[in-house]
């Protein structure tokens, strides 16, 4: 096991500086089912890591472990080089890990400002400080170059899918997230809205925020990602800079767990 870990740590081309989030030997078992099997992954700050894999490969299990929904069965995590254990979404939140789930968790009957501050409203004299919240929300959206929203006081229910995604991301960023995890952010979107969300993801990376994007859409992945990580039946079969991959190789890795040009790996032999 340790051999694998060291091999990945030194062999990972992006691992010059200490990564923001480091996963070492993360496993998650549900009874006899090994949903995750010794996953090692580095997530550097300011880079967009695309997490790909077929259904049941363990993508959701992995991000749930990172965001504190459930603890891994074994393995260690480091945050800024320090070992951490994340037991609850609150702890993840405190570290600066924000997860934007596919359903976005927005309230359609509230406006953009109200959604962005939900659960963390600014108060003055025990009453809601709407002016301050609106200014902060506007600034955050402007920082993220979200320009398609005409007013921060429109109800979220009236927004397009891409705009809703932007609001969900802006909410995470506004609360000083350092790692934003996005689950299928473009799954339900049309062409131009997808472009809008991909731009937003790039902006996050440019601002020094680490991003993990789960996606089924390889077009999106190759357009936006700096790094690729491929899960296959609970194992991380490959990870590295996006330049090391082409579409063909990515598809092979996703569907078979190996690609023709790869040398045999310790993890493959073990599995």
């Amino acid at each position: 096991m340790s051999v694998v870990a060291e091999g990945r740590a030194t062999g990972g081309p992006g691992g010059a500086a200490a990564p923001l989030l480091g996963l070492r030997g993360i496993s998650k078992h549900f009874g006899a089912v090994r949903a995750l099997n010794h996953v090692d992954l580095d997530v550097p700050a300011g880079q967009i890591t695309a997490l790909v894999g077929d259904n049941g490969a363990g993508k959701s299990t992995l991000i749930k472990a990172i965001s504190g929904i459930w603890a891994p069965t074994s393995g260690t995590m480091t945050w800024d080089g320090q070992p951490v254990e994340i037991h609850s979404p609150k702890e993840a939140d405190r570290l600066g890990i924000a997860t934007v789930y596919q359903d976005l968790a927005l309230c359609d009957n509230l406006d953009i400002v109200q959604n962005m501050f939900l659960g963390h409203e600014d108060l003055s004299h025990r009453l809601l400080d709407e002016t301050r919240m609106e200014l902060t929300a506007k600034q955050t959206l402007a920082d993220l170059s979200v320009t398609t929203v005409q007013s921060v006081r429109q109800l979220v229910g009236s927004l397009s899918g891409g705009q809703r995604q932007s609001v969900a991301v802006a909410r995470a960023v506004m609360r000083d997230a350092r790692l934003v995890i996005m689950d299928e952010p473009t799954a339900a979107l049309g062409v131009s809205q997808t472009a809008q969300v991909l731009d937003l993801i790039k902006t996050l990376g440019a601002r020094g925020i680490a991003v993990i994007v789960i996606s089924h859409n390889l077009n999106d992945v190759f357009e936006v990602a700096d790094r690729l990580a491929v899960l296959y039946l609970g194992r991380l079969v490959s990870s590295g800079p996006i330049a090391d991959y082409d579409r063909q190789r990515a598809v092979e890795l996703i569907t078979t767990g190996r690609s023709a040009g790869d040398p045999p790996r310790a993890a493959d032999l073990e599995g």
Partner: protein
């Protein structure tokens, strides 16, 4: 007119960052299209822009209180044409007092409706509040304020009990409060009968009787009105100014002034009407205490629901409980407090009800009262599905019901007609709301 010049400025100045010419109308699902409804609030920097934005808001389904206000005016015109007594000072004051119970019960219902819950028991819970107050005051001779506190503390506790059952056992509030509708009627009968005064407990305390029957002096009415308008005006002006200074979109000063002027005019009309002598044999004039009570509770509840975290969380839970939970909001506590406030407000309504009748008896029709309560809230514009509703809706809806009740009474029409007309108004309100919402989702 200068209004027209004002309009064009902000419209053309608005940054059309993503407007792709030619695609806007052709492809409805592209986000680069600038949907007309999105322009709404940013336009409101000028008077013309404000009026236009209001019009767009209405067309996109956020009509707010306009339909019910229109309906109220329509009803008033119809009844006035049929019977010129309707708009007389005496009848209008009577209508306000009649409506106060509906309005209070409607406000009680709003707390749970916003959550997407319902309380079918508010009628009999109100009855229990009145009964406890009457027993403490009349039977035990305690001071009026002890009696009132005892009454509303009991109904708040009842709300807490039903809320706990709904939250802890995860039962539908419809069923729990349906049980309440039956059970609290039983408790009410037991309490009234056990008092041994023949199925009726009279209210004898003068303060309690004055609650719904007494009037302020002419001068006091003016003073209270001027103070209320001054506070409202100050808050409005300061808030709009704060937004303008902070560089946020704010209503233009003319609109701010107009708001305050309308409020002041309404206050003056209200006090003028109430201060007109409406007595037949002896002079009766002044603003009824119950009007001030209802407006006071309306103000406090509006603040609680609209300007505090608690209120904001109720809207969030009512629309998307899972989103609220993930945002770290305690679903249980916030829901529980909403049920407590429903019970508490119902208790106040019950005390007003008993004060008006001078007694509380075991034949109070709590079933009809709860239907009026829900109808008030829904006619005003609250949604039964949660997430939408304001306290002012209960005021307007309650006034609509009181107007029908009062107007048809004046025309000498039987209760049968009154029920049928109320039903039609309720249906009309729900239909208008549903159509407006369809407009909003299509937008």
């Amino acid at each position: 007119m200068s209004l027209d010049e004002d309009q064009s400025g902000p419209v053309s100045a608005r940054p059309q960052t993503s407007d792709v010419p030619g695609t806007a109308s052709a492809e409805p699902d592209t986000d680069t299209e600038v949907d007309p409804t999105f322009e709404v609030p940013e336009l409101s920097g000028s008077l013309g822009g404000y009026v236009r934005s209001l019009g767009k808001k209405v067309r996109s389904g956020e009509s707010g209180v306009l339909p019910v206000l229109g309906g109220l005016i329509l009803l008033a015109v119809i009844f006035q044409v049929q019977d010129s007594v309707f708009l007389s000072a005496g009848n209008l004051v009577n209508l306000l007092v009649q409506g106060s119970v509906f309005v209070l019960l409607g406000m009680a219902e709003i707390w749970v409706l916003v959550l997407g819950e319902i309380d079918l028991s508010v009628g009999y819970v109100a009855g229990i509040g009145a009964t406890i107050t009457a027993i403490l005051s009349t039977t035990h001779g305690l001071p009026w304020w002890v009696a009132i506190l005892g009454g509303i503390a009991t109904t708040a506790a009842i709300g807490a009990l039903m809320g706990t059952i709904v939250i802890r056992l995860r039962l539908p509030s419809f069923i729990v409060t349906l049980a309440g509708l039956l059970g609290w009627e039983g408790v009410l009968l037991y309490l009234v009968n056990a008092n041994g005064t023949g199925g009726t407990i009279r209210i004898t305390d003068n303060v309690l009787l004055d609650l719904a029957n007494g009037n302020m002096s002419v001068a006091a009415g003016w003073i209270v009105m001027v103070a209320a308008v001054a506070v409202f005006g100050l808050v409005t002006v300061l808030r709009d100014r704060h937004r303008r200074v902070s560089g946020l979109v704010a209503p233009p000063p003319a609109i701010t002034a107009l708001k305050v002027a309308v409020m002041a005019a309404a206050g003056v009309v209200l006090v003028l009407v109430c201060n007109t002598n409406r007595g037949v044999l002896i002079p009766v004039q002044g603003v009824p205490y119950v009007v001030v009570l209802v407006l006071g509770i309306l103000t406090v509840w509006t603040f609680l629901l609209g300007r505090t975290r608690f209120g904001r969380y109720l809207y969030a839970i009512g629309n998307n409980a899972e989103a609220a939970r993930r945002a770290g909001i305690s679903l249980g506590w916030n829901k529980l407090w909403a049920f407590v406030l429903t019970g508490l407000t119902a208790g106040i309504a019950g005390i007003v009800y008993a004060s008006r009748l001078g007694s509380i008896s075991n034949n109070i029709d709590g079933g009809t009262l709860v239907l009026y309560a829900v109808a008030s809230a829904v006619i005003g514009g609250a949604s039964l599905f949660g997430g939408r509703g304001k306290m002012i809706y209960a005021l307007l809806g309650g006034l609509v019901i009181a107007t029908i009740y009062n107007g048809m009474g004046l025309l000498g029409l039987a209760a049968s007609y009154q029920y049928m007309v109320t039903a039609l108004v309720l249906l009309a309100a729900v239909t208008i709301d549903s159509l407006a919402r369809r407009g909003r989702t299509d937008a």
